[in-house]
Symmetry: C2
Subunit: 202 residues, 2 copies
Amino acid sequence: MLIKVVCYMRDAEQTRQKILAIAADEIHKHGFNATSLSVILSKCEISKGALYHHFANKLELGYAVFEEIYTPMFLATWQPAVEVEDPIEGLCQFFTAMSENMTCEDIICGCPLNNLCQEMASVDEGFRLRILTMQQQLNQMISTNLQKVSQQLRNDIDFSQVSYFIVATFHGSSSLSKSSLNKELFQKVINELCQYIRALKK
Amino acid sequence: MLIKVVCYMRDAEQTRQKILAIAADEIHKHGFNATSLSVILSKCEISKGALYHHFANKLELGYAVFEEIYTPMFLATWQPAVEVEDPIEGLCQFFTAMSENMTCEDIICGCPLNNLCQEMASVDEGFRLRILTMQQQLNQMISTNLQKVSQQLRNDIDFSQVSYFIVATFHGSSSLSKSSLNKELFQKVINELCQYIRALKK
DNA sequence: TTTCCAACAAACCACTTGGTCTGTTAATAT
DNA sequence: ATATTAACAGACCAAGTGGTTTGTTGGAAA
């Protein structure tokens, strides 16, 4: 029985996941519109029939990539940064580590959420709402964790505003540094961002 | 002689400017790749022959829009903000005025420089270099004007870093707020940015 | 063993895109 | 008046796009 399952020559869920993974990569690299279905097909080594068996159209594929790949990836990335005893240091270390570990290719590709927001938010309502939800989730995650240590922080802090500010700056830096082909600009902005974050403390 | 000039039924420079203006608007609204030449043609009420008489191809049209429309517009927008006695207040008032005067449509369209950077910097070298130059110009403009009043500012300031930080945050906020259809997010981030800028003073 | 359908394969289609090519006309220099 | 060329007009084209349709096959249930 087990062998039977393993030896399936057709595993619908597996091909679906393969499509999602490769589509996520392509969309990250080239954006949604510039991503060609035929490229996805050839990289997946499947036919058009297979793709359209699993997804109604390109847009639905895009939504699935957002919900099943980007969203969990995003939350898994940010959560450990703020759900610690000291979220201030958590965020700073998170940003510093990122700016150190990032390759130039990462810089060029940018943040998937920021990319899609920039490209699709004003074009497609489905994407817009999904992005908005994601941003609100992220904002709440950061702001509530900052609020937990509010006694260590300055009194004039608007937590929601500060959280949006942090994310905006992060996205801005990842956009800014796309034009230079190195990490210098990115690191500069991240440096300043860490200074700003640490200055939130009393 | 004057009448002759005015009464030209064909004014090459005028049609060229018309193309540039409409192309700039289309690129701003839809991005470079999503901008269709046929749409430009119909909005300009010209033929394909006319367009290709003035520009070698779509890319060259894009470069011309960047150099002849976006760049001067951009410099003319930022210059008055920093070339004043008090650039700190100049920047804050600039940002505040912008967030107040902006319509929702402006929010959705975003900043042309940020848009193109995000879309084209990693795709086309010609765009990348032009964007990089523009960013360096802007950075120098801001940092030198901040440096002029350095005696009023804190001692630990890295002027180039701070300037990039400011621009990155501005661009990040314009990207972030595309997903919400109102100015709230934009204003929040701009508020926090003004606080940050004012805190640069001693 | 047969039946049935999910899971594909692949030809086909309408449509749009950037770009070319050939022809025409307005204006100017001679 | 004529020749010349800049400034167009518009038909045409190959390539690529997302999407549809028809056909095939593997595998599990009856």
